[in-house]
Symmetry: C2
Subunit: 406 residues, 2 copies
């Protein structure tokens, strides 16, 4: 049989490592012939755009380079699979193409929305007695997938956020005047990535002095009060705020700065909570204030990726192949934390039905009483995930990336 | 005699290396007793805030750690020294304090504005027969100081910009739909840092497809036309634009997005040309568009600093001490490029009068005919400056920074 792997949703620094994991496991099994990658997720399957990964990855060092390359070399999509009762033709098209290509297993690397696709597709296969396994491989810098201890891609994003806020702290402390620096971190629904900046405490940093997550209602009045209190002790107050913070009424704080556009999944496009809060501080406090949006760098800065994250992303890809060979389908691979010290995880599978379209929030009990920082339990959770550095290949002073040969 | 070093202006990743250079040279000379650092530049001197660098840097590995730490451990200021005829008391205060502390030489690390201070202060010393040497050590990520081939701090910023735009390019290419990504790069007057992104060509990247510098007038109509032409060939168009681009009338393109605030030197505070152009593309072309401000990360991401830059920053600091010991004053240290292949620079001194308050622009002859990219000559200039990586000390997954002991 042949297999196909594809990726969907927002890029991370670890997706290519999962593709590498699928490849490295698949080549070990004589039952697997072609190892295909599909471009742009399910879109590429519907449009017959496959690439032979054996041809792409047979050069010396190619797999290693792939693992250290950000984003996804297979591209991505935001395609929402219709319900089977609304449009069965899409399902029939996928199956016809898979049968034509002798596909025995399909691996879909993605977040919540991609697991929805895995769920729908695997259910269709089962209900129609089609022997094509469908396995979901988690990835998201948001870390908001149910049941898995954490998601591949998250650790590298968290390491970037921590290292960068540490550097921003050095930068912010140079002037003698009081200042406020607001760092806007990705996280539409869950505050994991913003919260992860707490690891700097472990390194003796007092920053970030304030951390705001979408899990608790945000009040602009309380925000200004919090800053004034911190300014009594700290000349340069550093704040980490999640792009998804909402007020008491459940409205995004940055609402007035939004473009009003919705993506294919009905998510509101968020931008500008940092800028909005910058204006607020300027008006209410009047000190020097700067807002910094970590933007896509937090998901693509693989030059400072977490080795732990990249290794786990590879292993979970490999285990996905083993799960399919073992007859499993309609599953998502998960990381289950066995112990913190020494850090140890096991890779398991769960029914993807339980995952799709749910969100795992940052635990309320890890948020401090003042709702403006996180507790030490969070540090213990985050710290192992950002450990280790990759040996990044440089050429002419710039990191080298793997690129698909055309 | 004792000496004092201080820094002024915006942070870079290489200022601490110049402090280290001053220190490492000074400890070799028995004629130099105390090696002071002054906090917050000239402000710290006026307020008697000195620190003994021998005490701070005597731990094993402390100097190495200092070299790899971003921003400036001595802090900075934006203090503009008044003209001596307007307020002589400031000059008298500095001299009194220097004499009290037996200061024989003052090293000021900074950009244009700091060289203005070096110029005024050294002239005052000379005119009043006061034997205190004043030497300027250049630093700025803007690379816009006259006479020096380039400025310490620039190479590290350029390396960050190149590596990051390369990663952003991977990130931008994942979707099948057409998209435009606008990367806003620092550079108030000169386009050096924005232009330096051209080094990606050397690595086979087609990005950035368009580069806009403050040196040529910016037209929004031409900008939209340029994008449409690039979109014929490239699905994901990547654009590097300098924060300081101005229209035909000499007005900043982002003017309507400005806060209207001026800093102490009368510079306009710039923000938002990227955001403004993002809106423009959304309205005029209607495709997926994103703007990314590299913000302070481009000047403080020392985890991906250029070793060439950091080494040069150290050497120029050391040579500054030698210049002062040699009786020079009212000078700025400069880097003079001897050859490109192999890359070789010499460190020399020039009269600071020639430097202060002038701007070195990116050469018009290195800009292409279409005024939307740069020529290969620029690649040859930039490439040596971003070579080599530091051996960054990590602890618990995060780069370690040197911090002043209180």
């Amino acid at each position: 049989m042949n297999i196909v792997v594809a990726s969907s949703g927002g890029p991370t620094s670890a997706i290519n490592a999962s593709i590498a994991g699928v490849y490295l496991e698949a080549v070990k099994h004589s039952s697997i012939n072609k190892i295909y990658g599909a471009f742009n997720g399910i879109e590429g399957i519907l449009e017959n755009r496959l690439v032979d990964l054996r041809e792409q990855l047979n050069d010396d060092g190619a797999v290693e380079l792939l693992k250290n390359t950000p984003s996804t070399v297979l591209g991505s999509c935001r395609y929402k699979l219709p319900k089977v009762e609304d449009d069965i033709t899409v399902y029939e098209k996928v199956v016809t193409y898979f049968k034509e290509k002798d596909i025995g297993a399909f691996f879909y690397i993605g977040g919540n929305d991609s697991m929805d696709t895995v769920c729908k597709l695997s259910r269709y296969m089962k209900e129609n007695n089609i022997d094509i396994k469908v396995i979901g491989i988690p990835k998201t810098i948001d870390n908001d997938l149910m049941y898995t201890d954490h998601t591949p891609g998250f650790g590298s994003a968290a390491k970037y956020v921590a290292a960068t806020i540490s550097e921003i702290t050095r930068d912010s402390m140079v002037y003698s005047a009081k200042s406020v620096t607001i760092v806007e971190v990705m996280g539409r629904y869950a505050g994991w990535l913003t919260a992860s900046s707490c690891v700097l405490k472990e390194r003796g940093e007092s920053a970030p002095h304030l951390i705001y997550l979408p899990e608790v209602p945000f009040s602009t009045e309380k925000f200004i009060e919090d800053i004034k209190i911190k300014q009594e002790k700290h000349k340069a107050v550093i704040i980490a705020v999640s792009e998804g913070v909402k007020n008491e009424e459940g409205c995004y704080v940055a609402e007035c700065y939004q473009s009003g556009e919705n993506d294919a999944f009905g998510h509101k496009y968020l931008a500008g909570v940092g800028k909005m809060l910058e204006d607020l501080v300027k008006n209410e406090i009047g000190c020097k204030v700067r807002s910094i949006e970590l933007n896509v760098m937090q998901r693509c800065s693989s030059h400072i990726a977490s080795k732990t994250d990249i290794d786990e992303a590879e292993h979970i890809g490999s285990k996905a192949v083993l799960a399919a060979l073992n007859g499993e389908t309609g599953k998502m691979m998960i990381l289950s934390r066995v112990s913190n010290n020494p850090y140890k995880v096991e890779i398991q599978t769960i029914d993807v039905d339980d995952v799709a379209n749910h969100v795992k929030y940052f635990p309320i009990e890890w948020i401090n009483e003042d709702k403006n920082n996180v507790k030490n339990e969070a540090i213990n959770y985050f710290l192992p995930l950002i450990q280790g550095e990759l040996n990044i290949k440089m050429d002419k002073g710039i990191p080298v990336h793997f690129r698909i040969k055309k």
